[in-house]
């Protein structure tokens, strides 16, 4: 008799338990207790400064776990070094997917490096989420539904400069200096698309340089001679510093639009001379923690508290920990939205349905929005002007969404 009673209880319990269990769905890398997140960073090699981003991601997930995890699940963060060499990126991506059984790869860094694994990730149907590069090609849901960017892409940024110029210098003559590769052409296309019909008349000079060139001095002289009064400076840090210095030397004082790639005080402005850089414009999306205007901002305070407790050895004046923190928070938001349906497909679906998400360290008003056809999370920026020792944001939040305007 007792046996039957027990069986009955067990049966009833099972009957009640099973619908609940059926709602929980997992792919490789997720379970009742953990979510496995992979990451690839250049901890060694020529780009090792970026390694800070990976360390910040890890530190933030430690914080999440210490506070109870995501819906009770702890994040296991596995990060590998690729030494900034694409073949190693491929090897590490395969190790993460095939050996460490991660649910997704987060924020792998480098344009060539993400290109190297994009086909693999998409054929394996593993999310390649929030890649750390601004190349516009990483927001192509039609051909690569498993790959998504994060930061403003180069074309969006170009559109934002176009809006600023159209509004404030409608009769400006634009001189462009750009690096002759995909990155430079992306920026140029963004500007032209943003200017629309006026691009032909407003752009008076387009001068390329090669990444292998020793200097861009002659291009600066030619741009001045072209009569341009707006300078669109699409260069990497070394050349940006040269351009700023040379323009000052020859007494050329245009409205100077410096791409955000080189909006670095340490790497560009100081070598070029602080006095030469006053008034330079760029587009911003993150808060600069050293800027005193954010001293009492709750988002910044939270960031400082996180840095003090979970990443005390990190550099609080660098932009990389701000970046890593914001990316990690975006992923946490995605995973929270996933609830108990932790399949790779649902991760992509939730990543593609972020609505007005604020990271806390983005400039006020800049929100993350994605959709099934919009794989570019951040597309808003605010113009910033170099005054004193920092870039100070000013003016409205501008929208550089591809397809807008």
């Amino acid at each position: 008799m007792r046996f039957w009673k027990h069986l009955l209880i067990a049966g009833v319990a099972l009957a009640f338990a099973s619908p609940a269990a059926a709602q929980k769905k997992y792919d490789t890398g997720a379970s009742e207790t953990e979510i496995r997140v992979g990451n690839i960073m250049p901890y060694s090699g020529p780009a090792s400064a970026y390694g800070t981003i990976g360390k910040t991601l890890g530190a933030y997930f430690n914080k999440v776990n210490a506070e109870g995890g995501i819906n009770g699940r702890k994040i296991t963060f596995i990060t590998y070094d690729d030494g900034y060499a694409p073949p190693k990126t491929v090897e590490q991506a395969r190790r993460l997917v095939e050996n460490d059984d991660v649910l997704l790869i987060l924020n792998s860094l480098g344009t060539a490096h993400n290109t190297a694994i994009q086909k693999y990730m998409n054929s394996k149907k593993v999310p390649q989420l929030f890649v750390a590069t601004g190349a516009t090609k990483f927001g192509d849901p039609k051909n690569f539904p498993w790959t998504m960017g994060w930061q403003p892409n180069y074309q969006s940024e170009g559109r934002i400069y176009a809006q600023h110029v159209l509004k404030n210098y409608p009769n400006g003559k634009i001189g462009v200096l750009f690096q002759n590769d995909d990155y430079g052409k992306d920026y140029l296309k963004g500007l032209k698309d943003g200017l629309g019909d006026k691009a032909k008349t407003m752009i008076v000079a387009e001068l390329p340089y090669e990444a292998t060139d020793p200097t861009v001095d002659s291009q600066i002289v030619s741009l001045k001679a072209s009569g341009a009064d707006v300078f669109y400076n699409v260069t990497t840090p070394k050349f940006a510093a040269q351009a700023i210095k040379k323009a000052a030397e020859i007494g050329w004082k245009p409205v100077h639009l410096l791409n955000s790639v080189s909006a670095s005080v340490g790497a560009v402005i100081r070598p070029a001379g602080i006095e030469n850089a006053q008034g330079i414009l760029t587009a911003l999306y993150g808060k600069d923690p050293t800027d005193p205007q954010w001293k009492d901002d709750p988002g910044t305070k939270e960031w400082f508290a996180f840095m003090d407790k979970y990443y005390p050895e990190g550099d609080k004046t660098s932009s990389f920990p701000v970046y890593g923190y914001s990316v990690a928070r975006t992923l946490v938001q995605v995973l929270q939205q996933c609830g108990d349906n932790l399949t790779r497909e649902n991760v992509m679906r939730q990543a593609a349905s972020l609505k007005d998400f604020e990271t806390g360290m983005a400039l006020p008003g800049i929100k993350i929005n994605t959709s099934a056809t919009d794989f570019y999370p951040i597309e808003q920026m605010q113009m910033g002007k170099f005054e004193g020792e920092t870039f100070k944001p000013f003016g409205p939040i501008l929208n550089g969404e591809i397809g807008s305007m």
């Binding site: 694409p86 060539a112 990155y183």
Partner: protein, 335 residues
């Protein structure tokens, strides 16, 4: 009746009662068995890693022919590796040619390039040659980005390749098939290298390494042999580069920096200078030791790698091949 002249038996070197020559065959057979088991016993990821290790071993073999057997230094073999890789990538993606044909093409292109580079390099000896090849390693990644060739090389972005599937409906996935292809190519290339080194030509190469003046006095055309060795060495490394490009399914200038040249050089020294089987150890070292170093400490991976390298050099000063010789000698003494 046949009367044989009295001959003294040559001494038979043996370990455990089995002559060394037979040991060599046994080990070779064991190696082949392991090579056949690998694609069916391991996860795809490990098959992929071992494929890469064998590819590096072929590249190191090329470097060894030049440095180990002919005594010419090179810190620029990443350049030949890159040329081989780009030859394969451009043929497959831009010209739509089957990947199998890219291997002989890479071989020819790299041989010609290596031979031509070897001609002016003849004037340089030792460290000066090392410096000249170093310049080549630095120049090639930059040259690949230049606008002149960008249409073909894809510039900074590189070229994405489609990974080939197994032909003839063989029941293998693409990792297994690439492993098989790589092993077959490797066997052919190792047999050729072994034959080359043991031939008249091989003896000439070694003579040039040991004493160029004496070699020249014996009628060896030193400059011709040196340039040819440069060509053959580049050929080996170029074929490895082509295989590497197919296995990784992507080429970009950042893949072939000076770091790769140094890695090949490290593999050469660790495996054993002038040892053909040693290059396999070198290939495994190049691929796996950085991973081991990283698993010990992420922040200090470079330092850990350095310590491992120092230990290896300290414990086996003449590489894995030297260690193997030492162990055999010890075992023979014990008998």
């Amino acid at each position: 009746m046949l009367v044989r002249p009295e001959t003294r038996e040559p001494p038979v070197y043996a370990v455990g009662g089995i002559p060394l020559a037979q040991w060599r065959l046994i080990l070779l057979g064991l190696g082949l068995v392991v090579a056949c088991v690998v694609p069916f016993a391991l996860k795809n990821f490990y098959i992929f890693q071992i494929t890469l290790a064998i590819i590096y071993a072929i590249a190191i073999l090329g470097l060894n022919l030049l440095t180990g057997f002919n005594g010419q230094f090179s810190l620029g073999h990443s350049a030949f590796y890159a040329i081989g890789a780009y030859t394969a990538a451009i043929m497959m993606e831009n010209l739509g040619i089957n990947y199998v044909w890219t291997l002989p093409a890479a071989a020819v292109v790299c041989f010609v390039f290596g031979f031509l580079f070897g001609l002016p390099a003849l004037r340089l000896e030792g460290i000066y040659l090392a410096l000249a090849t170093f310049a080549l390693a630095i120049a090639i990644p930059q040259a690949l980005k230049s606008t002149v060739v960008e249409h073909w090389t894809g510039g900074v972005q590189g070229i994405v390749i489609i990974k080939p599937d197994a032909p003839f409906g063989l029941p293998l996935n693409s990792d297994q098939w690439l492993y098989v292809l790589t092993v077959v190519v490797a066997i052919v290339m190792y047999v050729c290298a072994a034959n080359l080194v043991q031939s008249r030509t091989g003896r000439a190469l070694i003579a040039i390494r040991d004493h160029p003046v004496a070699a020249s006095a014996m009628g060896i055309n030193v400059s011709l042999y040196k340039s040819l060795t440069f060509g053959v060495s580049a050929l080996y490394t170029g074929v490895a580069g082509a295989l590497g490009a197919i296995a990784i399914a992507f080429v970009a200038p950042d893949s072939f920096t000076f770091v790769l040249a140094v890695a090949l050089f490290v593999g050469l020294v660790v495996g054993g200078v002038a040892s053909i089987p040693g290059t396999l150890v070198g290939g495994l070292f190049v691929l796996f030791v950085p991973n081991i170093a990283e698993s010990v400490s992420k922040g200090l991976a470079g330092a850990v790698y350095g310590v491992i390298l120092l230990l290896v050099i300290y414990l086996m000063p003449s590489g894995a091949a030297g260690l193997a010789r030492l162990v055999t000698a010890k075992l023979m003494q014990r008998r």
